[in-house]
């Protein structure tokens, strides 16, 4: 449903946007006949419904159309960019999920003590800051003053895994900061609730060691809601990628959309956004699946 709505929005955006695609590409002084001819080649003079059907059925078959600017198929650009973005997102996720959960758990175990205050307030403060603001400040500190990390994410050609990783640390940090607060907050409230519950009291009163209670009874229940939050964060993460990739001049899906939007390259823009929509839908699905696997109270029908 979301994907369908998104595809319609994207498509309408792509249609309403230019008014006249041929005119937008050839400029205001081009001959009218040339404009008409180009419009016909691009197929934008057909009825809207026919265009939508043609576009969406081609997209499903993996044909994303031809870029107006590069005059070559869009798909390789989108796939390349998606791969790059996934590397960046993966670095951010690998850092933020364990550290965010750890932060929330530590805060909950030290409830209302100074350590909890620092984690909660610090997490809240960094989470609400726009990525480009934390990005700029981090670039200044680590890239310009300390000169520890490169200020652009464009690594040299044929760079190995660790070189790429080295170039990705700085761009992933703003994403880390934005996500950290949410994940830590969810983990903290999940922990507080679980620590306060009857089954925890029962486990403690049974005489189980504290460590076992935390690991087997509290954590498992506390982290369930956190998983859902992490999945919904993919949306924020993608929004953040557009900004971060522009700031660090990284060739990812975010900067692809941004460049396409600026250059009015509609097939590129439409495919980029729809691809992101699909990634988002898949992430939500995976989260639902994980949730049901980890939560014994929700079992899919066939299990019984």
């Amino acid at each position: 449903m979301t994907l369908f709505l998104l595809s319609i929005m994207v498509f309408l955006g792509g249609q309403v946007l230019p008014g006249n695609v041929g005119r937008a590409i050839l400029g205001p002084f081009a001959d009218q006949r040339a404009v008409d001819a180009l419009n016909h080649t691009l197929g934008v003079d057909r009825p809207l419904l026919a265009q939508y059907w043609g576009w969406i059925s081609n997209f499903v078959q993996g044909d994303m159309g031809t870029s107006y600017i590069f005059r070559s198929p869009v798909a390789p650009f989108v796939i390349d960019a998606l791969g790059n973005s996934m590397k960046l997102a993966a670095v951010a996720f690998v850092l933020v999920v364990p550290i965010g959960i750890l932060g929330g758990v530590v805060a909950a175990l030290n409830l209302n003590r100074p350590l909890d205050r620092i984690i909660s307030l610090g997490g809240l403060s960094v989470t609400v800051l726009p990525e480009f603001v934390t990005g700029i400040i981090l670039i200044l500190i680590f890239g310009v003053w300390l000169r520890w990390l490169p200020i652009s994410a464009a690594w040299p050609r044929n760079a190995g895994f660790f070189t790429q990783l080295y170039y990705l640390i700085l761009p992933s940090l703003p994403l880390f900061l934005v996500l950290f607060g949410y994940i830590a907050r969810m983990a903290r409230s999940g922990m507080i609730e679980a620590l306060d519950s009857d089954y925890t009291r029962t486990a403690v009163l049974k005489g189980l060691p504290w460590r076992t209670v935390i690991w087997r009874h509290v954590l498992r229940n506390a982290l369930l809601p956190t998983i859902t939050v992490i999945a919904t964060q993919t949306g924020y993460l993608i929004g953040g990628l557009v900004v971060i990739e522009t700031l660090f001049r990284y060739q990812g899906i975010g900067s692809l959309i941004f460049t396409a939007a600026r250059g009015k390259d509609f097939p590129m823009l439409e495919s980029g956004i729809l691809t992101i929509g699909i990634v988002y839908a898949v992430a939500t699905l995976v989260a639902d699946f994980l949730y049901s696997v980890l939560n014994p109270r929700i079992r899919l029908g066939s299990d019984q």
Binding site: M9, I139, I151, G239
Partner: protein
Amino acid sequence: MSAVQTTSPTPDDTRKRGPLAEVLLSLLRSGTFLTGFAIVMFWVACALFGEHFAPYDPLADDIINALAPPSAEHWFGTDQIGRDVFSRVIVGSRDILTVAPLATLLATVAGTALGLLTGYFRGLVDDVVSRILEAFMAIPVVIVALLAIVALGTSKTTVIVVIGLSFAPIIARTVRSAVLAERELDYVAAAQLRHESAAHTMFVEILPNVIPPILVETTVRLGYAIFAVATLSFMGFGIQPPSPDWGLSISNNYGMIGGGFWWTVLFDALAIASLVIGVNLAADGVHGALND
């Protein structure tokens, strides 16, 4: 006679003002709220009267003194065409503090109306509208904004409408769940028995009782609106030159960051950071005061 007249309104008055005064009092006792409120008020003052105490004209260039580092003359240095960064940071609060609150206002009005409708009527209206709103919420705001702004062209109005409409579903969801609880109460049944119109029941009877959650959601959204406006301006899709807007200034100057001209971006970044954190601290305070 006169004594009766002066005393009779008082009990009524305290009953009406009681909860409000209590909320105000607990706001004034909340350090979080006061800190945030002070920061926000500082920037509001800058937005309103900034040009009177800014040392230079924020738009006046001075090529000979371009890219001067901070000094006694230019506290925050000058940018690439010699404009005084300190003055630009002060006056730069104006556009974001106009656009973000207006967007939030639009989101609140539209979201409240939608939330009242879906919560009150339930059934088919609720199902259809809620599904559409959910689908909308799944799409990142930046993407919606990018599409709409490329489609409609960049202007302050576009930014306000885009951010306002993207946030409306979130407010609608909060209002809806509050209305769902409210509509089961006796006063709503009484209004329905009096054959009041649906509009009257929604807006005159229910609305005043769901104000607290709306207020909390609005203050929280204001923080996100500032986040979104700043980001869009940085991307070049928000506030347009020659405004000394913070996000815009950063976008114009960050290309030279490798050359060590840190003062052209750092102060704008800190300004955005302080405003966003200020609004969020205040929102946290409001949330605490209304939920005690």
